[in-house]
């Protein structure tokens, strides 16, 4: 591997600084990384070293001075694809001691939306910072609809654009009346709200630091603003949600963007829910509540029953912080287009649509599966409606709720969004396997979504930060590549270009 290794010790000296935007190797934190393939070495091996020579990926390792091999690094293995280049180790082993098969763990990993391939490829991106080159499907899942059936129609002849001049930056404040600062982010992606309490402090800090490195934002969620985030305040959105947990004047004044959470895609129509087990002393102090008591955010804002009430809300925040821009996060009811227009007239700068298949720390299964509209339908509706109202260029439309890959992000933009908000993908990059147990007992067994003292220690901050910086790099590379293939120089040019998309289930399958 040519990339530099992450040096945890030296990084630990500068935890309060914004890290540099450098890709560094951030290896899987477990002893036995999971790969798509499993490589078995039989007892008939004579330690000849032929496999070390032949393997293009460093699966077989025999360190200097060792008589025996280490256990094969089967997470590096690209499997049967290796046959194409004639370097499939079982074919070359003189003793026929090697066997390559699909890993049984791979077969039990993932679901329709987050397939095993998507989880593993996200892990690879977080590890290497590069686009995976094996046979992992890193663009779409297997849900059978929406983004998974929509594809780009790339022209056969690639226009001559240099990758270096392509910009993926977007502007978040597009209002004509220019009373507030412009806010520009370098990638059309920022992080969704994950509250203190639902995720570990390390997860929270790592997100803020990585977003700092990439000049974009993360969001505090509704659980208050931990002080350790203050050094990164220019890259942190603070959220005002129905529970108003930890919302104070100074937290609002600190933020460049304040987000109103009206609803969350994974449980629209229902408030937030933090189970009692997760309300530790620190969480309770932050939220000004009692440890051990489950916390419900009411739904909805009981002071908002109309667009006029909503405007009052927005004005309140604008008054408290005259330099903040306002984002309004709503989920996707059938009249989502009306809601979006209403939010604009109430003075919002960013309209954040959270589709029905978003993530959550805990939600009733009935809400996650059923309520509200998938984001793929909502984006073109809102984009079209804002356009017909003549206000499309005065507001930033961001989409979330099921954006898993860079390709999902690009498709969302082509459908009409300016940018996207992600959440689950970041957690997967940190090692989430989507076991769905974030909410129970001590919380996440992998130390990502927990406040348990011991479990938190399962990952270090420099490592977690690096994983996310790497992830963003891989996404950036892919977005640049998509733009390059279309001959575009800016991501803004892709917005609303539905003519560049095709849907597998529709009659019209024209090539570009």
């Amino acid at each position: 591997m040519t990339t530099a290794q992450l040096d945890v010790k030296s990084e630990a000296q500068k935890l309060d600084a914004i890290p540099e935007r450098i890709v560094r190797w951030a290896e899987d934190r477990y002893r036995n990384p999971v790969g798509k393939y499993k490589v078995w070495r039989g007892t008939s091996c004579i330690m000849c070293g032929k496999c070390v020579e032949i393997c293009p990926r460093g699966v077989h390792v025999k360190p200097e001075g060792y008589r025996r091999f280490l256990r094969p690094r089967d997470d590096f293995c690209i499997g049967f694809k290796c046959k194409e280049i004639g370097r499939f180790c079982p074919d070359h082993c003189p003793q026929k001691a090697l066997r390559v098969e699909i890993s049984p763990i791979y077969e039990s990993l993932g679901d329709y939306r987050w397939t095993a391939d998507l989880i593993l490829s996200t892990w690879r991106m977080a590890e290497t910072g590069q686009v995976p080159d094996g046979d992992l499907e890193y663009k779409v899942g297997a849900s059978g609809g929406g983004f998974d059936r929509i594809h780009f129609r790339f022209p056969e002849v690639v226009p001559d654009v240099d990758g270096g001049e392509i910009s993926t930056a977007i502007e978040l404040n597009r209002r004509k009346e220019n009373d507030r600062p412009r806010v520009r982010i370098d990638i059309p992606v920022y992080g969704g709200g994950m509250s203190f309490g639902s995720v570990s402090p390390i997860t929270m800090l790592a997100r803020a630091r990585a977003c700092g490195a990439w000049n974009t934002f993360t969001c505090t969620g509704e659980g208050g603003y931990p002080e350790r985030l203050i050094p990164f305040k220019d890259y942190v959105i603070t959220q005002v949600a129905t529970g108003l947990f930890g919302v104070r004047e100074d937290t609002i004044q600190r933020a460049r963007i304040v987000e109103f959470k009206y609803a969350q895609g994974a449980k629209p129509g229902l408030g937030g829910h933090l189970l009692g087990d997760k309300v530790t002393l620190a969480v309770a102090a932050m939220r000004e509540t009692i440890p051990g008591n489950a916390l419900f955010s009411p739904f909805p804002f009981h002071s908002v029953y109309s667009v006029e009430d909503h405007k009052k809300h927005v004005d309140w925040i604008k008054q408290v912080n005259p330099r903040a821009i306002i984002s309004v996060k709503v989920s996707t009811p059938v009249d989502v287009d009306m809601v979006a227009v209403g939010s604009y007239y109430a003075g919002a700068h960013i309209i954040h649509l959270d589709g029905s298949y978003g993530g959550t720390g805990a939600a009733p299964d009935i809400a996650k599966k059923n309520i509200a509209m998938p984001i793929e339908y909502a984006i073109p509706r809102v984009h079209g409606f804002l356009r017909s109202e003549g206000i499309r260029d005065e507001v930033t439309l961001v989409a979330s709720g099921g954006i898993r890959t860079a390709y999902d992000a690009a498709k969302a933009i082509a459908l009409g969004a300016d940018g996207v908000v992600i959440g689950t993908t970041e957690l997967v990059a940190l090692g989430c396997i989507r076991c769905n147990n974030c909410e129970s007992g001590r919380g996440c067994a992998r130390g990502i979504a927990t406040t348990d003292e011991k479990l938190i220690q399962k990952m270090t901050l420099p490592w977690a930060t690096q994983r996310l910086i790497n992830l963003f790099n891989a996404w950036h590379t892919q977005l640049v590549e998509i733009l390059r293939r279309f001959g575009m120089r800016s991501i803004a040019g892709l917005r609303g270009r539905t003519d560049l998309l095709t849907h597998q289930d529709y009659e019209d399958q024209r090539k570009a």
Partner: protein
């Protein structure tokens, strides 16, 4: 304000080991017995009793299936000896409609009475058959919502079974010329249907009747099955008559409602029953098929007060060849009744394929007043849908020996959880009572409509289903 209706739930642990989803594969041959074995680190304590359990003759692998699948031990074992697999027994549970996930969530609810809550987003397909091709809608900003189960607001889930006149009519003397027929209010829009798909022991029907009695609800039981032990629950039972109502006459006087199968002489049979017990509510049970809409209008015109359409176990019309899903067929029936200005005169019950509380909400959105459930009753009592009873084999979960009190609690737990979830959905929609949900398609989105409206202008014409299946 009336007293809040509440279904008392209480933990009712399963009698038999649950079938877990994931299992750990443990290759012990190479184990070097590290003193800091990763098994001790399991945060769910899965391995705690391993030593003792390994010596059990029966089910010594069961502990491996309690795995919550965090992969921590698999990824940390010094020698990499552990692996994970989906439990083959779990994967083989049930069938296409009643799959392992539905069975295990039903078990969970019957055991705990709680709403299934989980972390991370939804992992299922984008869209599926029947109920999976519709989304319910909620309110936001522009429409107020209601506080669901955690809130202070009272949301009613009660529905009426029976006939309601559109208007009163009077004779020449100014007296009421028609007396309103009996009307039963039940607190939850779900009745227990006769489980006819399986060959279940009497205990299951008794459980349904007993749970119905305790909940103030109703249970449909085939009239031939009504033996002495059912007498205790008479008020909660709807006897279902295949032929003449005189076949089991004593019951007509004991119950509030009966059901008779549809047929040419159905109105006469209803008359016969009402002669014997004038306050009786009589429902007509009819197959759900392509003629259902027309039949519903005919029956309502002839004064039928309750119509119960039953689909097959998969929620499909009882037709050969292409059959529609109960959601779409019910919508047609509902609209036909609305069109004929008869909708409010008749109560519509729909059953078949209702497996989850979301199906309940969606079926009511499609036009039913209430639903009947069948298989979930058996599953709540730990049935694994193995089909042994249909082949005359003994039941692996010994349903014939189940204690009725315990079984009643399991079924009430399930209904308690279902009702709480219905409240969540109603709250999110901003509805105060389930009666208003009926036919309220404004609170639902259908796959075909969303595709047409959102994607039609972009991608043009969607391939027909036949073309799609031909392509794959």
């Amino acid at each position: 304000m009336p007293k809040k209706y509440h279904i008392p739930t209480r933990p009712a642990p399963p009698r038999f080991k649950r079938v877990g989803k994931y299992g750990i594969v443990d290759r012990r041959e190479d184990c070097s017995a590290c003193h800091n074995c990763v098994k001790r680190e399991c945060i769910y304590d899965c391995y705690k009793d391993e030593d003792g359990r390994l010596r059990e003759i029966d089910g010594y692998v069961d502990y491996l299936y309690e795995c919550k699948s965090c992969l921590s031990c698999v990824q940390s074992c010094t020698k990499g000896l552990l692996s994970r697999k989906v439990n083959p027994e779990f994967a083989a549970l049930g069938d296409d409609t009643w799959g392992p996930d539905i069975i295990s969530t039903t078990w969970y609810q019957a055991e705990t009475g709680k709403i299934p809550v989980s972390g991370a987003g939804y992992g299922g397909r984008f869209v599926g058959e029947g109920f999976d091709s519709m989304w319910t809608d909620m309110s936001e900003i522009v429409r107020p919502t209601r506080d669901g189960i955690h809130g202070r607001e009272y949301i009613s889930t009660a529905v009426d079974v029976g006939r309601k006149f559109n208007r009163l009519s009077f004779d020449r003397n100014g007296e009421l010329s028609q007396f309103p027929p009996g009307l039963i209010e039940i607190p939850v829009p779900v009745v227990f249907d006769d489980v006819h798909h399986l060959n279940l022991p009497e205990s299951v029907a008794l459980t349904a009747a007993s749970a119905a009695q305790r909940m103030g609800n109703l249970a449909i039981v085939s009239s031939e099955k009504l033996t002495e032990p059912f007498n205790r629950f008479a008020k909660a039972i709807i006897p279902l008559y295949e032929g003449s109502v005189r076949a089991n006459e004593p019951w007509l006087k004991k119950v509030q409602m009966i059901e008779v199968y549809d047929g040419d002489d159905v109105v006469e049979r209803i008359g016969e029953a009402k002669e014997l017990n004038p306050s009786l509510v009589v429902g007509v049970r009819a197959k759900l098929d392509r003629r259902s809409a027309q039949r519903a209008v005919e029956l309502t015109r002839r004064g039928v007060e309750v119509i119960h359409f039953y689909a097959d176990a998969a929620g499909r019309e009882r037709e050969h060849g292409l059959s529609r899903h109960i959601s779409r067929a019910t919508r047609e029936v509902h609209l036909a009744l609305v069109e004929a200005k008869l909708r409010d005169e008749v109560t519509l019950i729909a059953s078949g394929g209702i497996a989850l509380p979301e199906h309940l909400a969606k079926e009511i959105v499609c036009g039913a007043d209430l639903v009947g459930i069948d298989m979930p009753i058996a599953i709540a009592l730990e049935c694994r849908l193995c089909g042994s009873c249909l082949n005359g084999l003994s039941c692996p979960v010994e349903l014939d020996r189940i204690d009725i009190g315990y079984a009643t609690q399991r079924l009430m737990n399930l209904m308690g959880a279902w009702r709480s979830q219905l409240l969540e959905v109603l709250g999110a929609m901003g509805l105060r009572e389930v009666r208003r949900l009926r036919g309220e398609v404004g609170r639902a989105m259908f796959f075909e409509d969303l595709e047409r409206e959102s994607f039609g202008p972009i991608f043009g014409k969607r391939k027909t289903e036949e073309r799609m299946s031909a392509a794959t």
